[in-house]
């Protein structure tokens, strides 16, 4: 395949996936609002766009609220967009963009389905915007780190005390939790012996890593939530303390872009979690029917989103110092230990000393 073909294919798939994810983000907000409603003994938005059921007099509504995201988007675009006095305009306008771009970029290396062919177009070795990137994991870590700049800059440029506090909280939080995230990501990398996302999925053909490394999966999910600044780690926008934190001075679609970035990052983290620990697009019959891969990863992403929303409905928020001590004193040691033990076991297995050890241990217990 020539380089021109690669570029064209990447553009087309990138366009499709971006559109899907932007729609997905909109419906994630609806999913969150409806699900939170259910969890909190209320209904949630069910008015905008519904399918009346004629044989029940149109009374019974089906898929209520299906157009709510569109209505929200229109509202956000049509709102007045005030810029407060004395803000640093360049940075103030740049920050929302800096939030959205990394959130979309992450999706480039996520494998969505195994290799398949449509007519003459062949998607190999798996379906992704940028397949076969042998540093896929590094790419993700690098891009997520950019996200923190948007928050810090938004907080700093807004010329608001609440926003500054939110921005400062964000810096400390992202740096602390990125460390745990970076270390725990090494576990699937070591086990699959590759940094290519598609090969990590392939390595989980027989058993998902969540069953082999449950602790690593939990640490990854918690650190991922902290990277997302989702509840209970949403200190930087802590509504009850800082009103809205870093985005307090933003309105209209500029605020909407922060919102968009948060929900797209939710989707990305769910997708990364699914790829690392839930076998990505793998599932029954996926080798014969590649399009099933899309369905499997969709289900896994929605499961991750469900968990995040459920946690948000349940847990109170950490305090700043508790967040720090949890990150440094609990999560990081667990991540390091998990990493070291996994590394030792892998080396032992490669050198063939693991099997005799297990034998002797089992002999010791069985007598």
């Amino acid at each position: 395949m020539s380089s021109g073909e690669i570029v064209v294919r990447a553009l087309i798939t990138g366009f499709i996936i971006s559109l899907v994810v932007i729609t997905g983000f909109a419906y994630t907000t609806l999913f969150e609002r409806r699900l939170l409603g259910r969890l909190q003994a209320r209904i949630g938005p069910n008015r905008v766009g519904y399918i009346p059921i004629p044989w029940r007099g149109g009374e019974k509504r089906f898929l209520g609220g299906i157009l709510q995201p569109a209505a929200d988007a229109v509202k956000l675009f049509l709102k007045e967009d005030p810029t407060p006095a004395k803000v640093n305009r360049v940075i103030y306008n740049l920050a929302p963009m800096l939030a959205v771009i990394p959130a979309i970029l992450i999706l480039a290396v996520i494998p969505w389905a195994p290799a398949f062919r449509i007519g003459s177009a062949k998607f190999q070795p798996y379906f992704a915007i940028a397949p076969n990137v042998n540093v896929g994991v590094l790419f993700i870590l690098a891009v997520t780190s950019i996200g923190v700049y948007s928050i810090v800059l938004a907080g700093w440029a807004s010329n608001s005390k609440y926003a500054v506090l939110g921005g400062i909280r964000a810096t400390a939080q992202m740096i602390s939790y990125e460390l745990s995230l970076g270390i725990i990501v090494l576990v699937p990398i070591m086990m699959a012996n590759t940094m290519d996302m598609g090969q990590i999925v392939e390595a989980q053909r027989h058993v998902w890593y969540i069953f082999l490394q449950p602790l690593a999966a939990i640490v990854f999910f918690i650190a991922g939530m902290a990277e997302l600044q989702r509840s209970p780690f949403d200190l930087l926008e802590a509504e009850q303390e800082l009103s809205a934190g870093f985005n307090v001075e933003y309105g209209s679609m500029r605020f909407g872009m922060f919102f968009m970035a948060e929900y797209m990052k939710m989707i990305s983290v769910s997708a990364i979690f699914a790829t690392f620990f839930l076998g990505g697009f793998r599932g029954p019959f996926v080798d014969d029917l590649p399009w099933l891969g899309f369905i499997y990863i969709f289900i896994k992403i929605v499961a991750g989103l469900f968990l995040m929303i459920w946690i948000r409905a349940t847990l109170p928020r950490f305090r700043y110092d508790q967040l720090m001590s949890f990150g440094w004193k609990v999560l990081l040691p667990i991540a390091v230990l998990n990493f070291l033990i996994t590394a030792v076991l892998i080396v032992m297995a490669e050198e063939g000393t693991l099997a005799p050890l297990i034998d002797s241990v089992s002999k010791f217990f069985t007598g």
């Binding site: 969890l39 608001s160 303390e241 928020r317």
Partner: protein, 420 residues
């Protein structure tokens, strides 16, 4: 009140210390105007429970000094009451502490009765106790919901309001109003409770214990909630007495005092209930006291329902309480009484009284002076939130800004009652 609020664009560094003091306006001592950030939390802020403004001097995330600034909800209720006849002034009391109107009605009605020397029938006393305790539970539910929301446990808030809805439905049933019930009148009650009152309350008594267990499962066993509340905002036993803290906030500090038990009214001395007490004096202790108080309130309500006997709910003095509506068609005297009660009202005094009750927030008292006219000459309320709020600087210094929010939630202030 109505003071200049520092603009977001003004940094402390641009102002001299004198200018800053003038701007701050609360008389708060600024420890370090050069290095620290001055943050005006409120009056429009999600977790200052209405329109409380707290001026906070911050060193990073740590609160160095703070001063609550009140008066944004001042409505002149006490002064207004001087221009209304005794029974009409009663409706103003609902608007003070809008989360528990029944106890406000109670303290004012009891003050008027004390001034006039009226004895209230047994059934009215019992219903007053039942409705006051329902009101206490409703108020504590709002406290639980909002203070949990301050810690971002958002679901509990909606669950609490779901249960509060049942109580408000009961209030609507007895008084026609859901919040501003004005149900207790000097001389008894507005009218007797309807038949469906007792079954409705019994149903509520059945539902509520399981719901309380739910809240405790969501909050009391949650490690994050424990970490956020334990050893936060400590008021010691002696400080609680010295600063005049009252109610559950005081009992959380181990001061064993409850006006329902120690200065009984409405026949509380004949009910069997415990006064919950915790020693630690932190947010967690105050949470525990209120949770246990709700259970005790359920016990009191159950006993009250058991002893509810048919009988009059108003005194038979038609100079104070309007005669039964049915009599108006047959008795000329009743028509005259009805006319006099609703146009001229009744006269009280001269003299003054001081009536104390235990409101959900603490020691609620009414000072009432009559000069023999048909309007109160002076009404003053000793409101618990006002005094409790004064302990905020005591708790808040050296805490984190997130703790400050938890503390404001834990002393359960209602701004309507503070500013009056």
């Amino acid at each position: 009140m109505g003071l200049l609020i520092p603009q977001a664009s003004d940094s402390i560094q641009e102002l001299s210390v004198e200018e800053l003091r003038a701007k701050v306006g609360t008389g708060m001592e600024i420890v370090d105007p050069e290095e620290h950030m001055l943050l005006s939390m409120g009056p429009q802020h999600p977790s200052t429970h209405g329109v409380l403004r707290v001026l906070v001097e911050l060193d990073g995330e740590t609160v160095v000094n703070l001063a609550p600034d009140i008066g944004f909800l001042h409505t002149g209720i006490e002064k207004n009451m001087e221009n209304k006849r005794f029974v009409k002034a009663l409706v103003m009391t609902d608007r003070m502490d809008y989360l528990t109107p029944a106890t406000n009605n109670l303290v004012y009605a009891m003050a008027v009765e004390k001034l006039m020397g009226l004895e209230i029938p047994e059934r009215a006393q019992t219903i007053r106790v039942i409705v006051s305790e329902l009101s206490r539970i409703a108020s504590h539910l709002v406290w639980l919901g909002t203070s949990a929301l301050d810690l971002a446990a958002m679901s509990v808030f909606l669950y609490c309001f779901r249960e509060r809805e049942i109580i408000l439905d009961i209030f609507e049933m007895i008084a026609g109003q859901r919040m501003m019930i004005s149900y207790f009148r000097p001389g008894g009650l507005w009218r007797d409770v309807p038949e469906e009152f007792v079954p409705a309350v019994r149903k509520f008594l059945e539902i509520m214990p399981a719901k309380l267990a739910d809240y405790e499962a969501l909050l009391g066993q949650n490690p994050i909630f424990l970490a956020r509340t334990k050893d936060v905002g400590v008021i010691s036993h002696d400080d609680a007495i010295a600063w005049g803290v009252s109610g559950p906030s005081m009992r959380g500090s181990g001061v064993d005092w409850d006006n329902r038990r120690d200065q009984p009214y409405c026949g509380y001395e004949t009910y069997d209930f415990e006064v919950p007490l915790e020693k630690e004096g932190d947010v967690w202790a105050r949470y525990n006291v209120r949770m246990r108080e709700m259970r005790e309130s359920l016990r009191i309500i159950r006993q009250g329902l058991d002893r509810l006997k048919p009988g009059p709910v108003n005194i038979a003095n038609y100079k104070v309480v309007p005669p039964p509506r049915a009599d108006l068609g047959t008795s000329m005297e009743a028509v005259i009484h009805h006319f006099k009660v609703w146009t001229e009202g009744y006269h009280a005094g001269p003299g003054y009284v001081y009536q104390v009750i235990e409101s959900p927030r603490g020691e609620m008292a009414c000072y009432l002076r009559g000069d023999g006219g048909n309007k109160p000459a002076r009404v003053h309320f000793r409101t618990p939130s006002f005094v409790n709020l004064a302990s905020l600087p005591l708790m808040g210094k050296g805490a984190y800004i997130a703790d400050l929010v938890a503390m404001i939630g834990s002393i359960d202030v209602v701004l309507g009652e503070i500013d009056r």
